[in-house]
């Protein structure tokens, strides 16, 4: 967490008061919550009334997808095939238990949903479309404005999971034309366990959580004022610092890609080199297993990740890479490096120094 967000959160933790109460302490807490709502709205190009606080990105995705499906009473749900599980799994649940017809929109080799793909699939029997703003694994940025416009022409609400995008890309809710947008605290330097669904006026999902009627009756539950205060501070700072951070991360990321390519000539860089999250570098190392690379790099002090994990913790080939047309064996030899505000040139150079030996060793282990 960024120190300012910690300070904002800690300041609230020692106070009492329920934002729903009418007494003085409640009013004071409500003021904090509403100011936080305004801060987030202002930072992301939304109206304060469009911010619905949740307990994180997963809940926001569930609320958007299940809630809009229930509200719209139409059978089809369109998602990109590279969504996070927080979006894919609620949709699959709707298919299994609520007779939804879920269709996964294919992506191109760079991991992008082409506008013509959505155009061909959209119709007035679609309950909602959900396409993430930027992919968490390979970093590809989607043509959100175009996709949202296509959905609107057909009168279909458009949801986007922008959890990865907020701190690194220019995210403007109103200008993007999307109807619902998921954001999350810990991805922007705020606390875990808090997030929000931005909901345009007139977009009213059926609630997933019923209760006290908080958050314009869409999401009941006592608000976590300290987390919300930390969240708002983090969003504000992330947006304020975004341009400078993005420029620095792009430079570091390009240096990392150059260093890895120099050390491992046959490495494959996945995703789109241009329309990409600045802090994301994603590679396939042919002949290696991702978890062997991970282990060897960890021993050298380099932390990275292989992608999705299944319930038993066994690495499965990433559904994102499979959707991009890679085969299972290649997908298993993939690794994601995420750069953030603490990353340095020295970190990147160290990866360049050790990656050659690590890949060589992993290849030998892969063959044994």
């Amino acid at each position: 967490m960024v120190p300012e967000a910690v300070a904002a959160m800690v300041a609230e933790l020692s106070r009492v008061g329920n934002a729903s109460s009418l007494h003085a302490a409640g009013r004071r807490t409500r003021r904090i919550v509403e100011e936080s709502r305004e801060t987030i709205a202002c930072a992301l190009g939304a109206r304060p009334s469009e911010v619905v606080f949740t307990a994180g990105g997963t809940e926001a995705d569930n609320l958007a997808i299940k809630g809009l499906f229930w509200a719209r009473r139409r059978p089809r749900v369109l998602l990109s095939s590279i969504e996070h599980h927080a979006a894919l799994d609620p949709a699959h649940w709707l298919a299994d238990h609520q007779a939804a017809r879920v269709e996964l929109l294919p992506v191109d080799a760079q991991g992008r949903v082409r506008p013509e793909t959505l155009k061909a699939a959209i119709g007035d029997d679609v309950a909602l479309v959900s396409v993430m703003w930027a992919n968490n694994e390979v970093g590809t940025v989607q043509p959100i404005h175009e996709l949202a416009a296509i959905a609107h022409e057909a009168g279909v609400p458009f949801h986007t999971d922008a959890v990865q995008a907020v701190a690194q890309l220019d995210v403007d809710f109103a200008a993007s034309g999307v109807d619902a947008m998921t954001i999350s605290g810990h991805k922007v330097g705020g606390p875990m366990g808090v997030g929000a669904l931005l909901l345009a006026r007139g977009v009213d999902p059926v609630p997933v959580l019923h209760g006290g009627g908080q958050e314009r009756d869409v999401r009941s539950g006592t608000l976590d004022a300290p987390a919300i205060a930390g969240f708002a501070t983090a969003v504000h700072l992330a947006v304020e610092r975004r341009a400078a951070l993005a420029a620095r991360l792009t430079e570091l990321r390009d240096l990392l890609i150059a260093k890895v390519r120099a050390a491992v000539p046959d490495v494959v860089v996945n995703g789109d080199l241009d329309q990409r999250l600045p802090g994301n570098a994603h590679f396939t190392f042919p002949g290696c297993e991702g978890d062997a690379l991970l282990m060897l790099l960890d021993a050298k002090g380099v932390e990275c990740s292989t992608g999705s994990a299944c319930s038993a913790g066994v690495a499965q080939p990433s559904h994102v890479l499979l959707a991009m047309g890679q085969d299972g064996a290649r997908a298993r030899g993939s690794l994601r490096f995420s750069l953030g505000h603490t990353s340095t040139v020295e970190d990147v150079e160290w990866v360049g120094e050790v990656i050659g030996g690590v890949v060589e060793r992993a290849r030998r282990a892969g063959l044994s």
Partner: protein, 360 residues
């Protein structure tokens, strides 16, 4: 000079033994990485609950223990290798009328072959497990805890494999291990021991085999009379020495209980007979492995032999043949099943092993 830390890969099943083993080796100053072996790509199909060694719950327990010990932890997907080398082998052995020991096979092919090879390639020096057996200077000996001793299921390892193995629990009893786990704050201290076969979810080996091999009726023949005395649903459901569940229609002429004497897979015949007919003194065993302090140059050795897990130990003479050994027991043994391991001991020291092919 001095202490040279090793890079050790600790295989962590999620049980108390492997957790304490990893903790001890880390505390000794070695550079330890914990690895849980995922043996099924669909854990639900294998044993659930706390008794197995390959469930989601077990992998969580292993991770939790690694966190308490403070070592890095990974999960290695060994499901394909395990299925091929242990599960399919298990089914094929039963289909051939033999009685395999899958734990022994798992040590031989998974823990100290697939895992060890991968560990060495990744730059580790050794694999540590929570087995109850002593290993000093490459020599394998029984655990001081007679009831928990696992030297039998390790007796199949080669000298090369043993040279990269570490068994940190060698000198301890199970009770000591549990007490130590509690002292170290390992939450698995009270976890029940695993029993039976980890990949048979409900413990019903017969149903597991019937699923894979199909039920097929065949005769149960009495060895004394030569007559058919009953029918069975598949010879694979039987093990030499078995008495229960024979479903014999008629009592034997001598009125004595009947035991399975042999299983003939081609004709799907189970032969039964009186207990005396089970007694054997001469065993032929194949694929001998010499892994202990033994001089085989004379072609014959005196030793003791154990013929199944937790089984009795028999004094014996062992004559070396071409790719096999001929074991002559000093006193008769019963229930000697082809497919089981014959592990040879000098006192409490393992000197070698072989796979039982036939007995008479």
């Amino acid at each position: 000079m001095g202490f040279k830390p090793l890079r050790v890969l600790a295989a962590m099943s999620g049980g108390v033994d492997s957790a304490v083993a990893a903790a001890r080796i880390a505390e000794a100053g070695h550079d330890v990485t914990g690895v849980h072996l995922a043996l099924s790509s669909n854990p639900q199909s294998y044993r659930t609950g706390a008794r197995g060694c390959c469930t989601v719950e077990d992998s969580r327990d292993a991770r939790r223990a690694a966190d308490v010990i403070g070592i890095p932890f990974y999960i290695w997907d060994m499901a394909e290798r395990f299925h091929r080398d242990v599960v399919e082998d298990f089914v094929a052995e039963y289909a051939a009328g033999r009685t395999p020991n899958p734990c022994l096979r798992c040590n031989e092919k998974i823990k100290f072959e697939a895992v060890l090879d991968r560990a060495l390639a990744l730059g580790f020096d050794a694999v540590a497990t929570g087995h109850h057996a002593r290993l000093e200077d490459g020599v394998l000996r029984r655990s001081p805890d007679e009831g928990k001793d696992q030297s039998y299921v390790l007796g199949v390892l080669t000298r090369e494999q043993l040279s990269h193995a570490i068994f940190p629990l060698g000198d301890s009893t199970k009770a000591q291990v549990r007490e130590e786990a509690a002292r170290r704050g390992l939450t698995v201290a009270d976890k029940p021991d695993s029993h039976d076969i980890c990949f048979i979810a409900d413990g019903d080996t017969r149903a597991f085999l019937a699923d894979r091999l199909g039920e097929s009726e065949g005769p149960i023949v009495d060895a004394l009379s030569g007559k058919v005395v009953g029918t069975h649903g598949g010879a694979f459901g039987y093990t030499v020495g078995q008495r229960k569940g024979l479903n014999i229609d008629r009592p034997a002429a001598d009125g004595r209980p009947r035991y399975v004497l042999s299983i003939e897979p081609v004709s799907n015949t189970v032969t039964v007979g009186p207990r005396a007919a089970l007694e054997v003194t001469s065993i032929v065993a194949t694929k001998p492995v010499w892994n202990g302090p033994v001089d085989t140059s004379s072609g014959e050795i005196g030793c003791s032999v154990q013929l199944r897990a937790h089984g009795e130990v028999y004094p014996a003479r062992v004559r070396l043949g071409e790719g096999d050994v001929h074991i002559t027991l000093e006193a008769p043994a019963t229930g000697v099943a082809p497919g089981q391991g014959a592990v040879l001991y000098d006192g409490d020291t393992v000197i070698g092993s072989a796979t039982i092919a036939s007995a008479a």
